[in-house]
């Protein structure tokens, strides 16, 4: 189909104003928070499921690729339209359809910003647990696409643990609901498979999530350490002690410094590591548990433990963590995040080796990460205009992922494979494993129209 004819047909579906095709638009919708870009042929902004269904049916008939896009904060190239075609942007499908306080469920459209949902349910005394650091910008559709995590996922689990059902548009435009508000519908757990499939199996047009009560009490502690090893040993020791806090987040010296310069969270600039420890739940017993944590910190040579006295102090401590990526991006024009994950007792060993890799490749690396989950985020700083340096960054990134795999871990904890880690998939999966995933892909998308070139590397036949 001629590109002009395609645009015309799309305009008939969504209206004149919601089909974008100027070269500036196409460039703007061609990248995310990773390094690659690729332009779509056309961007369309539908208003409802029916329109999405028509767009997908048209694309299927014409053999045109379709890539779903939320806010494009993906760090692995998820929404980049690698093979061109149609990008469906969800900024108009941003309604919270229902907050059901009795069943403790919310139904939302995919374009709803994560924080907007959290704010809306908080007004009713409830919470939606997954809290990616990008929550101010990321969409619920993108969270489902990537199975996003966040600081509180140590205790509460990631997006998939809170997703009860999805409305999806299949490759041929059919619309089906998987799961729902009631539990235990018989059949395969399609919802579980769709979460984290990065828009390669179907387009999500509605999401039903689980809400939970807000905790009665919260206690936030900040441990300041002289070495990163002491801090990571503290993480393992807390868990081994039988305490599962709501969060265990760590930042190293480079990140602390950047954060202090930008948001002034009150972290001491000469510390090698800080650890944010948050407890939540019933107020009863919290004092004793917090004392035990302080003892563990002391046994691991903590310099100082600060306890947030009120909501304001707590927010200050968190501002630093939430603003960390942004703060680091002031240091150099670009950063690349490696999302490797290891069993948490391996953290000290792996972090030490990450530092060695930084030295070997002569690249500054900062660490800000979900320590309780063993989910590292080494941030490699660079300037993408320097091609030689960029090449070194990619090599160092691959090496860090290899390191995680060798330590019994994996190549992505929460940012997804996208197009970034196709090659590294072979670090953890055999050809048979990948073939099994291709069979699932083919069952959902026999024409290969959804987000081609992502998640699954081609099979070496």
């Amino acid at each position: 189909m001629e590109i002009d004819a395609l645009r015309q047909r799309l305009k008939e579906i969504v209206g004149e104003d919601y089909v974008l095709s100027s070269s500036v638009d196409l460039m703007l919708y061609g990248y995310d928070a990773y390094l690659e870009m690729s332009r779509p042929d056309v961007v369309v902004i539908p208003e409802n499921t029916e329109q999405v269904s028509q767009i997908v049916r048209l694309a299927c008939e014409e053999g045109i690729p379709v890539t779903a896009r939320g806010s494009a904060t993906s760090l692995s190239g998820g929404p980049v339209p690698l093979k061109g075609g149609i990008v469906i942007h969800f900024s108009r499908m941003n309604r919270i359809l229902e907050i059901d306080t009795v069943n403790k469920r919310a139904r939302v459209e995919p374009g709803v910003i994560t924080l907007d949902l959290q704010t809306a349910v908080a007004k009713k005394g409830l919470q939606y647990a997954p809290d990616p650091a990008s929550q101010k910008t990321s969409t619920m559709g993108g969270n489902v696409g990537e199975n996003s995590g966040g600081p509180h996922c140590l205790k509460y689990g990631v997006t998939t643990n809170h997703t009860m059902g999805l409305k999806i548009v299949l490759y041929d435009g059919e619309v089906v609901d998987t799961g729902g508000k009631a539990p235990d519908r018989p059949g395969y757990d399609l919802t579980g498979l769709l979460v984290g499939s990065e828009g390669t199996l179907g387009i999500v047009t509605e999401i039903t999530v689980r809400l939970i009560e807000q905790p009665e009490a919260i206690k936030t502690l900040l441990g300041i350490f002289e070495t990163i090893e002491d801090a990571s040993n503290t993480v393992s020791a807390i868990i081994a002690e039988g305490i599962v806090p709501a969060t265990l987040e760590m930042m190293d010296r480079l990140v602390i410094k950047a954060v202090e310069e930008s948001v002034h969270a009150g972290y001491p600039q000469d510390a090698e590591a800080v650890l944010i420890i948050e407890l939540d739940g019933l107020k009863d017993g919290m004092e004793r548990i917090s004392d035990r944590i302080i003892k563990i910190c002391l046994a691991n040579k903590v310099r100082e433990v600060k306890v947030a006295k009120d909501e304001a102090e707590r927010n200050t401590l968190w501002t630093g963590r939430r603003g960390a990526f942004g703060a680091v991006s002031r240091l150099r024009p670009n950063y690349m995040v490696c999302d490797g994950t290891v069993p948490r007792t391996k953290l000290p060993e792996v972090l030490r080796k990450v530092t060695e890799i930084g030295r070997e490749y002569n690249l500054p690396i900062g660490n800000v990460f979900h320590a309780g989950d063993g989910n590292l985020h080494p941030l490699i700083l660079f300037d993408c205009r320097d091609e030689e340096e960029t090449a070194r960054v990619r090599e160092a990134g691959t090496k860090i992922l290899r390191l995680c795999v060798d330590a019994g871990g994996t190549i992505s904890g929460e940012h997804g494979i996208g197009l970034e880690k196709l090659h590294e998939m072979s670090f953890i999966f055999s050809q048979d494993d990948i073939a099994a995933m291709w069979k699932l892909k083919n069952a959902f998308d026999p024409v290969g129209g959804f987000n081609p070139g992502k998640v699954l590397p081609p099979l070496a036949s």
Binding site: L170, D189, G196, E229, G285, V342, E349, S412, L440, F444
Partner: protein, 471 residues
Amino acid sequence: MDIKLLHGILNPQMVSSDTATLTRFSVDGVVPEAVVCPANLSQVSEVIKLANREKWAVTPWGSGTKMEIGQVPKRLDLVLCASRLDKIIDIDVANLTVTAQAGVKLGDLQDLLGGAENRCFFPLEGDLKAQADYMCSGRDYKGVFLPLDPPFPDKATLGGIIATNSTGPKRLRYGLPRDLILGVRYVSPTGEIIGMGGKTVKNVSGYDVSKIMIGSLGTLGIIGDITLRLLPLPEQIATILVSFNELTAVTGFAKRVLNSKLLPTSLEVLNRDGYSLSASTDLKAPSGRWCVAVGIEGFSEEVKREITDLKDMAHFEKAIEMAELDSDSTIVFWKNLANCALTLPKDGETVVKFKAGFLISNFPEVLEAWTNILPDNFCALTASAGLGLACAYLVIKTDSDIEKAARLGKAFRETAENYGGSMVVEFAPATLKQKLDQWGSPHADFVLMRRIKDSLDPLNVLNPGRFLGGI
């Protein structure tokens, strides 16, 4: 079937075809031609590849506690039992993970985990200089546990629990097998050994394939080994039993609990017959028509506070009686409830179990409707107020009560469907299954399930015809 083909890949003692064994491993009265018990995944893989070549139908078998789930098999040539896949591969207390083979019995695993003492780990494993610096926990009580409490915990295997997505009352606090699974290694329907996930608590590398293995009733693969999340054993456990005469008071109490900040592990509503299932010699039956059992686990201060608050709430709803179970009685109480179906039937009787899921908000309506259609003779109801789940156990005369049970099942199902849910027949004799669909009607998303099954198991080798919609 040519048994010699099996002898080509397995030791003779792993293959049985004597009548006694075949009868023991029959499924809904359908007798297989051979039973094999391979000792490792490579052998499972060989058997499945052979089955594909020979177009045999294969049924995986854990310990057979849930073999009644599902339709009567369309075909059954070979039963593949997991009894030799019974090794616990790794208990990592410091990382709170366990990896074990599918044939491990949950009860055995819990016993081991409960006594697991080694909370030490190398902070710098692989770094020779630091070998001496072991880190150990100073906690004064020990043990970890797998937060799953399905029916028949002593008998059920991990593979069977995962394949049936089996849960118990503690799901309220700890979630489903799907929330605990970190990795799985299985043999695909075409015989490849597939591994997904591992020991990390977060993982988004590739599709989350383990999710569709859960609850797929052995139709998409033979589960080999599984890595699951553990939790530290709670410092203290207790149970509060509260009894009421009126259903409105029951649901009023449940609502209070659910809208509070308390975090009970379970909130089960039992009718009088339901309560009798969990009663034991040292627990007298409560006098009301309904009993609500609230399980509590946590640090001692939390448990104390929850007990106080729960008693206040019960008071407010004018409870008839209240009892507090200590930790020993708590264990006995919930265990009896989990095993109840084993102890119920006498000679010539069978247990039938229905399980429904529906909107939590309709809990009162569903319970009321079910109570109104209950038969006069024994019928135990156990319902999870915070989850929107309810189970009914009937004891029926195996030869004369089938029609009646089928009618009741249909009425129960209609109620669940009216309130946004569904109902499955979890346990029933084959004669009843012919009169009552086990799964109910599939929804529009069934088209995807069918395509998945066809794509992964093109020759329909694994458990043909047992699952939803005839998969």
